[in-house]
Symmetry: C2
Subunit: 680 residues, 2 copies
């Protein structure tokens, strides 16, 4: 009888003739064992760990000679690159007698990427673009098929990839690569999800050691964040971000739409700005990871619909008026150079997730992919906080989605002492209810401001301003310390009983930190800051309430705070402020940059693309702009409900001036007023 | 019983309820009746001619009221555009009782284009890109599908075109077009042959009156010829040509390959030159036809392999050395801007026919498509004469192909008085055997040079030189008049007995025309000219003989002379010269620009693309460069066999210096010698 081969952890087993390579046995059994070089002993991706001894569970004893002896190829590989103790190359080691073979995680094609945040889904590697080493037949004058045609035949035979085509840029390099590699080349094969039209994106002589890379980009209204991933194992090699240069055309989405409406060619200006930003971001992140940007073959971009259209060179004007029609709601796959992304591989492909609706974009789709509310048993509210908040509410039975124009206040913009989350920014605040004195922490330092050594520790960065999470805590703490009333008014020094409440014209401001003696800034929370935060949090809360109305619930089981900023919000302070509906503190979690994680999933797994395309079709879209209840919730949410106890009765106050959707993107009243006039 | 509807000429018939539109009946019966607007009474493509009276053949009498009365849509169309007598719009006229309806040729979707040359195949219209008028659903906030998604749904429903995608450039215009057209748009849909991935190449509000156009380009080593065709009916609206600017890098293929080998970046220079030429040719031809070049959506290009690679930016170096490997032999479809063809529609597609072998290109494939030797009963030799000659020999049982490096002498280059075929060029020559005096005709004048009024008639153009067909006749006539011996030597004035044989160094030249008295040129046929023609015709003949050897025949049944130049060659003179194997004069025909016709077929009919792709796979390729017999035939063919009688015994002479394939591209001995040195 032929020897029995058992693979772990899959448990797959079968009998194979003596001399069968382990890789061959694995393939025949459908065991998930990687190989880029197709068993030529070059890529070392097929490493396995044979087990010896007694396996009573399998009724098997594995003897020492169960695999063929270490061969020259393995010896050379070990010499040059080093092979871990106990490892063999699956393509070299052959079966001699009964054997148990373990496939370590890093040798699995569909290996999982370790999760970062607890709530995000693991990523199973199966990128759209992968590397294949092929042996191509030499040309024959009597059978004059072209080099590409012989490469196609080899890919079909050796990799089961049929119908492959090649763009001109690949054709231009093909002949040289084949001859340099002595008819052995590595090709990057792109297989778009749901299509049987694979495309060769790159070709290299021999075995390509340089790797293939991908970018996952979260293109926000205010910030652009990118992760550079290794497409072989999903590792994030570098992460980088920059401000969206479109900010100079308007801080929030609707002011950018207005800019486009008011200025002929304005949309093209904004398109150019963001395309140039992406191109330079790609260069920077590749430099940071010390890889050749020409090896970036895939880019996944998630963003809201206005960013989506502006990036693609589509005038966003329709998104500024009912019925908020998208030019396209489906996912898109296109060449990177079509959006000016010419700093990466010239054949690179871009995938953009589908949009959910005119105001609920591919970023919300990416959050849905990452957080999978459609698979949750508990009713889950997911809030992705940015300049525009994406809100999802649902469980296995149904998912609802909307977006809400919070404006950039939560990102530290439109706040008098606001700044980006960078070293020196105040990120945590506590105010003593008795003395009304604050203590705080700044980014880049683990000490509180009243800890010994704090001054010394923050000497380099200084204390420069307040970031988004800092302002939320400051406002909530001011409310709990009685500095602020429920309507959001800062009391006077006399009323509150502290000289920190300084008069500013007809309003007051609270002094958080004074470094003026050392030539530093005086960091104040002004009445304008409070108003900006109130507008932002009311919009967010109103969106969530609207979805709860549609679902017919008064409470949710879980709240997930997503977004880079969401990760830093203190759930307690968010509830004091009334940003999110009340829930048990334990059930409020942070998902980190869920949109970015969703983008990474789509980058590393082509099935994730098909999955989210299907999911988006099933999500029920709620348009906040046409729901009278949204205005009502918005107005009612202006108050800062919690005085001291996180869960008192909600107290209502006279509303702030009502603002339309278009102009409500944040900012003080003056600002909102100015925009309203401009649109009128 | 429902009324009977009989369509002619198809004979298709069926019964339909009273009130059925004629177009609907035609569609249900599969009658070939065109419609761009899908029955909206806009495009007028569905015009039909109802017949009234007795139809004994059908056992039918058609009464006057068999169709509904002329309606308002038809009346308006007649008012605005005019409707031919007896015509009705098929989408407006409805069936009332038994009726016979004729579909005129211009109303057939798959109408045939009238043939130009007798031997070329008719073209049945079915272009890859066609216009569809669609009614798109308006956006709905509660079902937020994008505009593209609703257009896709409309195309599927109204035109049965599914899975359509749109490039960014179309997406960028889509929203404006839909709103301007009040949710009715015309789209240009491209359906590549053998693919189910249709692409929208253009979108216009309402019914697009401007038409869709295509270019069929024959890219030769020396000249580039283009036809601009209307994609709705195949009409050639303009034809234009220019010299291939690559000539400055080398006159024949192999000298261009050498240029690339010798000069780093030389291939890129040549690529740029030809791409720029195509782009400006497209602009010119559109201007000539007075159409917007932005409406050119398809381009079909045929050319030899070296031109093919240089156009695509592929270094042709491999084509200059055995085994003459093509980068790709298959057909190609790609975006026009990938080859710098940016003067036409930005979404335009290019189709390139497959290459047959390393020396037998897409131009030969186009000739095979046009002349269809694989469908011939008689053994047919097809010779496409250019700087490189493409030669096909075959019949239904098998087709053989090769190419032969004739050089540009046949195109008037490398001839002392040579010039392009343009007004003023001598194109026909006769020499009186007794007096040795010539008479000739020049292009642009129907008179012979000894006819009264010739001088007056050619006053404007002058007599400026000799074109390709003129030099062939001159050499053949010189031979028949005894001015030239079988070895190709021009006799002296004394030996021949005419002062027209002038001494030129150690050789002689024959004076064809002397206009020096009026300040014009002296047009001579020199010994160098004879040598250039001998080299060219020997290469051509040797290629044909080689195929005949492979087929095992001594004679062919038919000879087809293809190429713009082939159309002007006198078969008798070609045989006197020994350019082509002897055949009955009646069986030697001209196919005009067969490669260009093949390109037009592929432009106007997508099935022709699939057909030639399959045919090319079955053609047997013969590589002249490695066949010792080719050299032998070449050497043996140097003589000019026929003295006076067109079919005497072939007389052999001492061969000219042997030249290698690489350097044999034509030219005098000095020229060939120089190139040999350069490649050594």
């Amino acid at each position: 009888m032929d020897p029995l081969v058992i693979f772990t952890p899959s448990g797959k087993r079968g009998r194979f003739p003596v001399g069968t390579p382990v890789l061959t046995a694995a393939r025949q059994l459908g065991v998930d064992l990687d190989s880029v070089c197709g068993g030529r002993g070059i890529c070392s991706k097929c490493q396995v760990a044979p087990s010896y001894g007694d396996f009573p569970k399998h009724g098997l004893t594995v003897s020492d000679g169960a695999l063929s002896a270490w061969n020259e190829v393995e010896a050379r590989y070990d010499r040059v690159k080093g092979l871990k103790e106990g490892r063999r190359l699956g393509c070299q080691a052959t079966v001699q007698s009964d054997i148990v073979i373990d496939v370590p995680p890093e040798s699995q094609v569909h290996r999982q990427v370790v999760r970062k945040a607890a709530s995000t889904r693991p990523i199973t590697m199966d990128p759209a673009t992968r590397l294949c080493l092929v042996e191509v037949a030499e040309p024959d004058m009597h059978e004059p098929a072209g080099d590409l045609e012989r490469l196609r035949a080899a890919l079909a035979e050796q990799w089961d990839v049929t119908g492959v085509t090649a763009p001109l840029r690949v054709l231009q390099n093909l002949q040289t690569a084949l001859r340099k590699g002595n008819w052995q080349v590595s090709v990057a094969v792109h297989r778009p999800a749901g299509s049987d039209m694979p495309v060769i994106l790159g070709v290299w002589p021999g075995f390509h050691e340089g790797g293939l890379y991908g970018l996952a980009i979260d293109l926000g209204s205010t910030t652009i964040a990118a992760h550079l991933c290794d497409l072989s194992d999903g590792r994030v090699l570098a992460s980088s971000g920059l401000m969206n240069p479109q900010i100079r055309f308007g801080e929030d989405l609707m002011s950018r739409v207005s800019y486009s409406m008011m200025n002929p060619g304005g949309d093209a200006e904004m398109t150019r700005a963001v395309q140039e930003a992406l191109a330079s971001l790609a260069t920077e992140i590749a430099a940071e990871a010390e890889i050749d940007p020409g090896l970036i073959f895939e880019t996944v971009i998630v963003c809201n619909p206005v960013m989506h259209h502006l990036l693609l060179g589509i005038d966003p004007v329709e998104l500024g008026q009912a019925p908020f029609a998208l030019a396209t709601s489906g996912s898109l796959t296109f060449a990177a150079d079509e959006i000016g992304l010419t700093t990466i591989a010239p054949t690179a492909r871009v995938y953009m997730l589908p949009c959910i609706a005119g105001h609920v974009g591919a970023d919300a789709a990416a959050v849905a992919l990452s957080e999978a509310p459609d698979k949750a048993e508990a009713l889950t509210l997911i809030v992705d906080v940015g300049t525009n908040a994406e809100i999802l509410l649902g469980d296995q039975s149904k998912v609802l989605a909307c977006s809400s124009p919070t404006g950039p206040a939560f990102e530290g913009a439109q706040i008098s002492a606001g700044q980006r989350a960078a070293p020196g920014a105040i990120e945590r605040v506590e105010i003593d209810p008795a003395s009304k004195a604050p203590r705080f922490k700044v980014i880049g330092c683990d000490l509180w401001s009243d800890d010994p050594g704090f001054t010394e520790a923050t000497k380099d960065s200084g204390i420069t301003g307040i970031c988004g999470s800092g302002i939320i805590e400051a406002v909530a703490e001011m409310r709990m310390a009685g500095i602020l009333d429920a309507s959001g008014l800062i009391g006077s020094a006399e009323a509150v009983g502290t000289p920190r409440c300084e008069a500013q014209g007809r309003t007051h401001a609270y002094l958080l930190h004074d470094a003026s003696a050392e030539g530093g800034p005086r960091i104040l929370v002004t009445q304008g800051d409070i108003r900006a935060i109130q507008l932002a949090k009311s919009a967010l809360y109103a969106g969530a309430r609207l979805l709860m109305d549609h679902r017919g619930v008064e409470r949710v089981d879980r709240v997930v705070l997503a977004g880079a900023f969401g990760a830093h919000i203190s759930p307690k302070h968010a509830m004091v402020l009334g940003m999110i509906p009340d829930a048990k503190l334990d059930n409020v979690t942070s998902a980190g940059n869920a949109a970015g994680h969703g983008a990474r999933m789509a980058l590393c797994n082509r099935a994730a693309r098909s999955e989210i395309e299907a999911t988006v079709g099933r999500i029920e879209k709620i348009e906040t702009a046409i729901e009278p209840k949204f205005q009502e919730h918005f107005v009612n949410a202006n108050a800062i409900p919690h005085a001291t106890d996180p869960f008192p009765e909600l107290s209502r106050i006279a509303p702030l001036p009502q603002v339309s959707f278009g102009a409500s993107g944040g900012g003080g009243a003056e600002n909102g007023g100015r925009r309203r006039r401009r649109r009128a």
